[in-house]
């Protein structure tokens, strides 16, 4: 199995040169490294440029509604825990329309990986501000520049004991691949936010991004919540990329059901048999 296993014939709708291609490549590389075959993988996305990614990778996928990738993925994951289910989403998709689902996924801790392409704008709808747009940055809307404070979902994830929180850069494919491999492997919910410049609507050149990222220092302790929080909360000249926070996962979503009833894919379970159903119904019949 090599990376080409994941290639398909679908013609991309992305702009030529978009860093999304780097993310796509990193994901293919990561799945290859993880020795997942295409039928073991299910990508789930909402709507946006980022959310088109599943079409370009040979595997199962559900390309759902704008903002709703996480609940769909949660349902898929419960119905078939054997699948490697990965959410591919944008900053608008996941933090705007879908913000509530992200919050509550943190509470559930399903064994999913969420990959957020953060281009700080709504690309598919032509360049409006997103929840991560930095103050004063201008967009096709608002043309005078953003006022609202950007959302900090990595910090929110950390606060809620998310077992794996990382930041990658679309231009650093190998580094990103490594993060993705670890994210998928890590038990519990993994959140990977990726700095993804938009070369059409963004207002900084690619070189700017390259100059403004920095690897986490070699002695960075991803187990230290306080340090991790301060890393994502304090805006610095250069944005650190790497695994920001990592810890052993607490109990997983659906584990109780899996212990009590079954850990197999739900599609493999037979309906309650007729005899059992008859007995259950008898509970509702009063006899003397």
């Amino acid at each position: 199995m090599d990376m080409s296993t994941y290639d398909n014939q679908v013609v991309s709708q992305w702009c030529p040169g978009c860093p999304n291609f780097g993310i796509l490549q990193a994901l293919k590389k990561a799945l290859t490294a993880l020795h997942k075959s295409p039928e073991q993988v299910c990508l789930v996305s909402g709507i946006g440029q980022a959310a088109k990614l599943p079409h370009y990778l040979h595997c199962n996928f559900f390309n759902g509604l704008h903002g709703r990738a996480i609940p769909v993925a949660t349902g898929i994951h419960v119905a078939n825990p054997d699948l490697t289910t990965i959410v591919v989403t944008g900053d608008g998709d996941c933090y705007g329309e879908g913000g509530n689902h992200f919050l509550h996924a943190l509470r559930r801790n399903p064994n999913l990986t969420i990959i957020v392409h953060n281009n700080e704008l709504y690309a598919l709808t032509k360049g409006q501000a997103s929840p991560t747009t930095q103050p004063r940055d201008k967009r096709t809307m608002p043309v005078q520049g953003v006022i609202n404070t950007p959302i900090n979902m990595l910090a929110v994830a950390m606060i809620h004991d998310c077992p794996f929180v990382a930041r990658g850069y679309a231009g650093e494919i190998d580094h990103l691949t490594d993060i993705l491999v670890k994210a998928v492997r890590h038990r519990g919910l993994s959140v990977v936010e990726i700095i993804q410049p938009c070369i059409t609507w963004g207002n900084k050149p690619l070189t700017w991004y390259q100059e403004h990222i920095v690897y986490l220092e070699s002695d960075y302790d991803a187990g230290n919540l306080t340090a991790a929080l301060s890393t994502v909360m304090n805006v610095r000249e250069k944005t650190p990329i790497g695994i920001l926070y990592q810890k052993a996962s607490r109990s997983l979503f659906a584990q109780r059901y899996q212990k009590l009833v079954s850990g197999r894919p739900l599609s493999e379970l037979k309906p309650i048999d007729r005899g059992a159903m008859e007995r259950i119904l008898e509970e509702f019949r009063s006899t003397t």
Binding site: Q13, H55, F61, N63, L65, R68
Partner: protein, 561 residues
């Protein structure tokens, strides 16, 4: 004994439900059918609620407002509900200063409870004991049920309840000798007692449902809660979602991955699911959605009943795609329809909406029989081995593409909310692919329509007047048909419980038709006009949050008889 109607009234928190439940258990153990329904305010303590029991030898699962016995736990409730006591009915209440205008039995529930236990919360058990005595139940039968219902609460509480019931029983016995005519000789019949919600939950489990995600909302919450309590027994994974949007999308995800999946809500929550329903339509993912109606708009009257969401359910969702809308008439039908809903959702890969309402969802019905062979879970799986190269949305004459699940086999499975090609990839081909896919989906209606059940017809050929109804009003209509018959008037009923798409049907001619609906605008009438070019002459509409009853219908047709 033919019929005995009991009305138990009190504030939330006074335990009228527990009195009603105990009595319902007792009479059904004696072989009687009982229809138990409640109307209550949206609050946790206080206010005015009522619990009504309709006790009959054969099931008559429709609400009646008037009662032979009014049990009132406080003066306010008595004032409010007294008008429902039949002229020769008996009031059971706490002693009052006012001289009662009617036959009545006064027992100081609270004082007795306090004497026995120091705690007034046992007052309702005192009342239950008194009520049992009034209708001629023997003490042993009462105690059996008290033990069944309250045994789990520990010996102390159980014993106190025994004492409270006994005290009430004895106090009533003394007073009712001459005035209480009721006897309930044992009968040899045993009915299932199920609420609409329970029937749906059990039907779902029987149908092979393995996944429910929902957000609490009256009157549908109990479907989720029931399945959650019985997670191990029924094997349905239950998740309380953060909101209804998550609920429907999770269910769609689970459905995509091969689980029979559902959600349940009321109008407001359903409104939030509308985009998801359109998603199920586009991705051809089966999902069952229970919409328990209550009076709207918005929060409306959250604990009351209505049939106000019919046209909304039929038209919910942007774009054009096939769906099914069912409206079961009672708990038995709800069980059956739920099985059908899952089967048809899977067969046609569509969303199926089950409309209930507070009356159907929360009332307890007595059911003679549940025939598990009538509708059985039918799987519509395809063997992946028989497929060479798989296309999730392969264009087929009947519009139904073979459906596999991700991870089920070597075949890759895709779903796309965009218009897509046969593989599920986004298409912009307007010449061929896009219109072909739209047509493929809508073409399913052709097969679906052949599978819809015709409306139920009762007494139509001989009738001059025919009631046309849908969903939970059926049994009330039959009450009216019976009442009319007893006045020598031939009436009949045409009742729809599968409402979209509507089946082929020809309305009989030269009858006077009365549409009966629990709403203000006559939504069924609009639908029938659109579909059959048929228009009922008159509309009997109720929209005050209370259910249509037989007498309500009779009152409405008075000027025509």
């Amino acid at each position: 004994m033919n019929n005995l109607d009991i009305l138990i009234a009190g504030a939330a928190g006074e335990g009228i439900q527990s009195i009603g439940d105990i009595l319902a258990d007792i009479v059904s153990q004696k072989g009687y059918a009982v229809f138990a329904w409640q109307e209550y305010e949206s609050r946790i303590r206080g206010g005015h609620n009522s619990y009504r029991l309709r006790i009959t030898p054969k099931p008559l699962n429709a609400p009646l407002f008037e009662a032979d016995i009014l049990v009132s736990l406080n003066q306010d409730s008595e004032n409010k509900y007294r008008r429902y006591l039949k002229p020769d009915g008996i009031l059971l209440s706490q002693p009052t200063e006012k001289k009662a205008a009617r036959k009545s039995i006064h027992i100081p529930f609270v004082r007795i409870a306090k004497e026995i236990s120091g705690n007034k919360i046992f007052a309702n058990t005192v009342a239950a004991g008194a009520l049992a005595a009034m209708i001629g139940i023997d003490l042993a039968a009462l105690n059996v049920v008290i033990r069944q219902r309250l045994g789990a609460k520990g010996q102390d509480i159980l014993q106190t309840n025994f004492k409270a019931a006994l005290a009430g029983y004895q106090a009533a016995e003394r007073q009712c000798k001459d005035i209480c005519p009721w006897k309930l000789p044992d009968r040899d019949e045993h009915f299932f007692k199920l609420t609409g919600n329970e029937a749906i939950a059990l039907g779902a489990a029987y149908a092979g449902c393995r996944f429910l995600s929902a957000y609490p909302m009256t009157p549908s919450t109990e479907i989720m809660a029931f399945l959650e309590r019985r997670e191990q027994q029924l094997g349905v994974f239950v998740e309380q979602a953060e909101d209804e949007i998550a609920a429907v999308n999770m269910a769609i995800g689970a459905g995509f991955a091969g689980a029979r999946a559902m959600t349940a809500t009321s109008g407001g929550g359903f409104a939030l699911m509308v985009e998801g329903i359109s998603l199920a339509g586009m991705t051809e993912t089966p999902v069952v959605i229970v919409l328990g109606q209550r009076p709207g708009p918005a929060t409306g009257l959250p604990t009351r009943t209505a049939q106000g969401d019919l046209l909304f359910a039929i038209n919910a969702g942007h774009g054009e795609f096939p769906r099914l809308v069912f409206a079961p008439c009672d708990a038995q039908d709800a069980f059956y329809k739920t099985v059908r809903a899952f089967n048809l959702a899977e067969e046609f890969q569509i969303p199926v909406i089950i409309l209930t309402d507070q009356l159907l969802a929360e009332s307890r019905f007595s059911i003679k029989d549940i025939d598990l062979d009538r509708f059985t879970p039918i799987s519509h799986r395809v063997d992946p081995e028989t497929i060479d190269s798989y296309k999730r949305y392969a264009l087929q004459e009947d519009g139904i593409s073979p459906r596999l699940f991700p991870g089920q086999s070597r075949h890759l499975v895709a779903a796309d909310s965009d218009e897509h090609d046969e593989y599920g990839h986004i298409t912009e081909d307007l010449q061929h692919t896009a219109p072909a896919m739209l047509t493929k989906r809508l073409d399913k209606y052709q097969s679906i329509r052949t599978r819809i059940q015709s409306p139920e017809q009762i007494g139509v050929p001989d009738a001059d007047m025919v009631f046309v109804g849908w969903g939970s009003t059926r049994n009330a209509i039959l009450d009216a048909v019976d009442s009319a018959a007893s006045l020598g008037i031939n009436t009949g009923m045409i009742h729809f419980s599968e409402l979209w798409p509507l089946p082929k049907y020809d309305f009989p001619s030269s009858k006077r038709f009365f549409a009966v609906e629990n709403n203000a605008t006559g939504q069924l009438s609009s639908l029938l006009k659109m579909q059959y070019d048929f228009q009922p002459a008159e509309q009997i509409l109720r929209y005050d949050g209370l259910p249509v009853s037989g007498p309500f219908i009779m009152e409405a047709i008075r000027k025509w008889i």
